[in-house]
Amino acid sequence: MKRKKYNIIFSVILIILLFVILYFAKLYLDDYKSRILNLCAIYTILGLSLNLINGFTGLFSLGHAGFMAIGAYTTALLTMPIPIKEQNFFMAPLISPLDKIVWPFLPSLILGGILAAFVAFLIGAPVLRLKGDYLAIATLGFSEIIRVIFTNTQRLTNGALGLKGIPNTTNLFWSFGIAVITLIVMILLINSSYGRAFKAIREDEIAAENMGINLFKHKILAFTIGAFFAGIGGGLLGNLIGAIDPLMFRFFLTYNILLIIVLGGMGSITGTVISAFIITISMEALRFLDESINLGFFTIRGIPGLRMVVFSVLLMMVILFFRNGLMGNKEITLDILANKLSKKPLTKGGVKR
């Protein structure tokens, strides 16, 4: 018990430290760098939510881009000021209640998440009866259907033109604040009886069912919670970039998040956080491949798109040679760190979870 208390105190101190660092980061970093940090936090949220579905519950879902689209569009439509809405919808006016209301950021985000979760709940009821690759293709199909619908509903989403001039509300405090909340929710969820049920379903569905776990209830719970956070992540992303259109939410977006959880380790929370940062930062760092490099005496011509090739080769290498990713399904916990630092013998019961 004592240890648990220390853990909580230590976590609170860590979080406060993080926000102090963020405060200084906000003061001293330029726009570009703080944007990358924002993206890191948003990809952490998205990675964690996909990992809950894919890594912990073992449901191979590829529908994340669709849920993100729902969140992004809801948040954007609710937070855009009325004159900008009129500017955007010059082809056909926005449908009636939406064109007059402007909500603050937080309720819009939460509503975006709730709508994404609601759609996931509706989709989940039929789709979660499927298994393995059928589930993958059905969820992929649903996310494509959502995208096609958004392309065609001119008066609701402005169709293929997308939305421009979304207020840039997302800043470091929003993105990291929500990332920390997501992290805490995930840790609590995974270590609860629900989390153990999720893992049991991942390991062996039939055995889990025999132990009295209600398969459908737990699957749909994981799916809905994952979609909720995907919606929130999408909302943050939309209000960070400032412009969204349906093409942004193609399944390539899902692949990027999939890469994060594969590299981090399917079923590892700390792994996901680490790899979200690694991947987002290296995506930017590899940008030099697309541009010309001037070596003084001669210039290497940049090849646009080479960055993505390097990226996909990386994905293949991780799958082929480091199948468990960085962390496998292990975690870095405070207990392990404390033991490493103090060099004392292991506590009773060991540190393995």
Partner: protein, 297 residues
């Protein structure tokens, strides 16, 4: 709608459907033998069109030689993909292989954007295919007739290969039970390579026909047809060659007729296939021709 118009749409539907069928066969063969959705199938299809494109325009080959070279190269590409990306993972969990397939698809797309440039290129269409035939008031491209004929011929060749030859028997054995087949002296690896080669060559033929029908090629052209043909294979009952053909025709004709009869819904054309897929998975998960496999615990 007049009868002529309907017939015109119907002919279009049949030719699109037979294209879908051709590609769906490749999916179904790979799935039948490895139980794996080959996400890269659509991109292999795309590579074939580029091979032919460069054969005609860069190496100045006549179109038929260039097509044959493209089909062979694509078959080799398929075998290479299987060797590099799927074979090392054969005994690992299904999700790893699936992610590997997604990785291959992503890699091929990005690689071709770098190598071939992302902008769409016009595909050279030989006159034999482009000529228009007039029957009464209906005018139809000759290609519209050629595609179904090619599909039917290939279907029969393939059925003969699978049912009446020794390698076909090996394929069926491996798809039933890999270990037992190995014990019976079947070379599992080369059988799987062979299947991938055939499947990829079918994708290549489908891709070339596709490029003749919609003469513009670009690196992402394989994505949507790839997904739709997978759906066609599922509708027909995945793992079943005749089923894939039926599914392909159903999907192609349904899609064209949807656009023809309900033009207001034409924007939802791409969603149609997915809605059909989900309905099929819910009500008859094994597809039209699929057999039910009991799961042992």
């Amino acid at each position: 709608m007049t009868l002529e118009l309907f017939l015109q749409h119907f002919a279009n539907g049949i030719s699109l459907g037979s294209l879908y069928a051709l590609i769906a066969i490749g999916y179904t063969m790979v799935y039948g033998i490895l139980r794996l959705i080959n996400f890269a199938h659509g991109d292999i299809f795309m590579m074939a069109t580029y091979f032919a494109f460069f054969g005609v325009l860069t190496f100045n080959m006549p179109w038929y030689i260039s097509f044959i070279v493209a089909i062979i190269l694509t078959g080799l590409l398929g075998i290479g993909v299987e060797k590099a990306a799927y074979r090392p993972l054969r005994n690992s969990p299904k999700i790893s292989i699936l992610i590997s397939a997604i990785g291959v698809s992503y890699l091929l797309e990005n690689l071709s954007i770098v190598l071939f440039d992302g902008r769409p290129k016009p595909f050279p269409t030989p006159n034999i295919f482009a000529d228009v035939i007039n029957i009464g008031n209906i005018s139809i491209q000759r290609l519209t007739f050629i595609i179904p004929v090619v599909t039917i011929i290939l279907l029969f060749l393939l059925l003969f290969l699978v049912n009446n030859t020794k390698s076909g028997m090996a394929m069926r054995a491996v798809s039933k039970d890999q270990e037992t087949a190995q014990l019976m002296g079947v070379d599992v690896n080369s059988t799987i390579s062979f299947t991938f080669g055939i499947g990829s060559m079918l994708a290549a033929i489908g891709g070339l026909m596709w490029a003749l029908k919609f003469p513009q090629i670009q690196p992402l052209m394989g994505v949507m047809p790839g997904l739709k043909c997978f759906i066609a294979a599922v509708i027909g009952g995945i793992g079943n060659i005749k089923g894939a053909v039926i599914g392909g025709f159903l999907l192609g004709i349904g899609e064209i007729l949807l656009v023809a009869f309900l033009p207001s819904l034409s924007g939802y054309r791409d969603a149609f296939a997915f809605i059909l897929l989900i309905l099929i998975l819910l009500f008859k998960p094994t597809g039209i021709m699929g057999e039910k496999i009991a799961e042992k615990v």
